[in-house]
Symmetry: C2
């Protein structure tokens, strides 16, 4: 079994060497910029670890893991636009629109999204692509609820904005590892806990969201409960899920 750091290195190398479609011409520069701004690669690591726990070589899951990361990057590029969150800085660097202009940033997000589907469609069956499409549509719906302030409740908002893509990080790995649909439920129950855990810890680090609604201590309790549920779901799975457990512990304890 590969440790989380090794899986992260695998994902990082794959993304760094990813051949973009030549027909993008100069547009590829901003796409590459968006991709190499870094981040923790949490979603691809979860994907690769799930695939390996389910019996597949992590290398086989690399296109799916990268596809999920590209969808995540697409969402950041479009969310940062002046018309949406108007963020000029992303992880200490100029955001894509601040660096490459607004028009190119719109197209960069579009290109990331379609490159994600190109990768998801490199598998022999459409399952990975279908999983990714559903998750991405949920994420777009969540972003709409967020910017319009029309979410019915906090849980729905976070399930769509964050949860869908975390759950898909697990879901696409199950298809890559050929886990039959009837055996996927326990894995998916685990995947459903991850997004909430990530979101609460994010809010604790940023001092917003769950901290505003539940206080700092209340948010910490919620994060620990989410981590406990994720661990409990892993114990329901008849496989070596030790690396996934390590990832959950890392997500709960992360400080950046």
């Amino acid at each position: 079994m590969h440790r989380p750091d090794e899986l992260r290195d695998l994902a990082e190398s794959y993304l760094a060497e990813l051949a973009l479609t030549p027909e993008l011409h100069g547009q590829a520069e901003s796409v590459r910029y968006a991709l190499t701004m870094g981040g923790k690669r949490v979603r691809p690591v979860i994907c690769l670890a799930t695939a390996e726990a389910a019996g597949a070589e992590p290398e086989r899951a690399l296109p799916a893991a990268a596809a999920v990361e590209l969808v995540h990057n697409f969402s950041l590029v479009h969310d940062d636009l002046p018309a949406l969150d108007n963020d000029e800085v992303r992880r200490g660097n100029p955001s894509v629109w601040a660096r490459h202009g607004e028009a190119t940033a719109v197209l960069a997000g579009d290109a990331l999204l379609v490159e994600a589907f190109r990768l998801a469609l490199s598998y022999p069956t459409p399952s990975v692509g279908r999983e990714l499409a559903q998750a991405t549509l949920g994420m777009i719906g969540g972003q709409y609820l967020d910017i319009t302030g029309t979410a019915p409740d906090e849980a729905t908002l976070h399930r769509l904005k964050t949860g869908c893509l975390f759950a898909a990080s697990v879901g696409v790995a199950l298809w890559v590892a050929d886990v039959p649909e009837r055996e996927q439920a326990r894995w998916r129950a685990f995947g459903d806990e991850l997004g909430l855990l990530f979101q609460i810890v994010d809010d604790i680090l940023d001092g917003d969201g769950y901290v505003l609604s539940h206080g700092a201590d209340g948010a910490r309790v919620l994060a620990d409960e989410a981590a406990d549920r994720a661990h409990a779901r892993l114990e329901d799975i008849a496989a070596d899920t030790s690396v996934l457990a390590e990832i959950v512990a890392g997500l709960a304890a992360r400080t950046f």
Copy 2:
């Protein structure tokens, strides 16, 4: 064989009744608006006619035809944005951003794109989705060359901006009709002519592009030559391509 008008009605009904993903929530309203602003549905009609000429029921090609139209609509919604073409009007109606706001329009384009892949992925194999991804990436690259004025030449620009998606309208139909890859070349040679024909006639109607570079008479000659080549390619195909020939004649002679 269905006539072009009948195929257009089929496509129109399918699009009007298309069930959008419920997780889009309120975002669906602007997506629906973008879809029902009309247009000639040229690409879906070509797709359905190709599928039928190649031996498939056109109904089987409806999801693929709709997917191509959704990608076309996605490109219009994003191209109209203030940061790109800044068009407030589209076909006599407010463009999506003028009607629903810029943020919602960014998300509407994103949602159209992903709904297109969801439809393309409803087939048992990934072929339709792969064809659509390649064409869409070419289209995005073409849009980049256009807005940055960096196209190496007019032909490359139009092949990417317009040609890719016309060619894919034929290409996806070949996969739906199970035309073996080794027999696709003649069909694809036909598809490659369509985008150029459409673009030149568009420029004649708008008095720009090819009219500016070749004069009104020169552009008409180029359009007729493109139509002749498209007809010649159809004659190379051992199938009843009469409806496709009718579509070519209609594209060459269209006045709106």
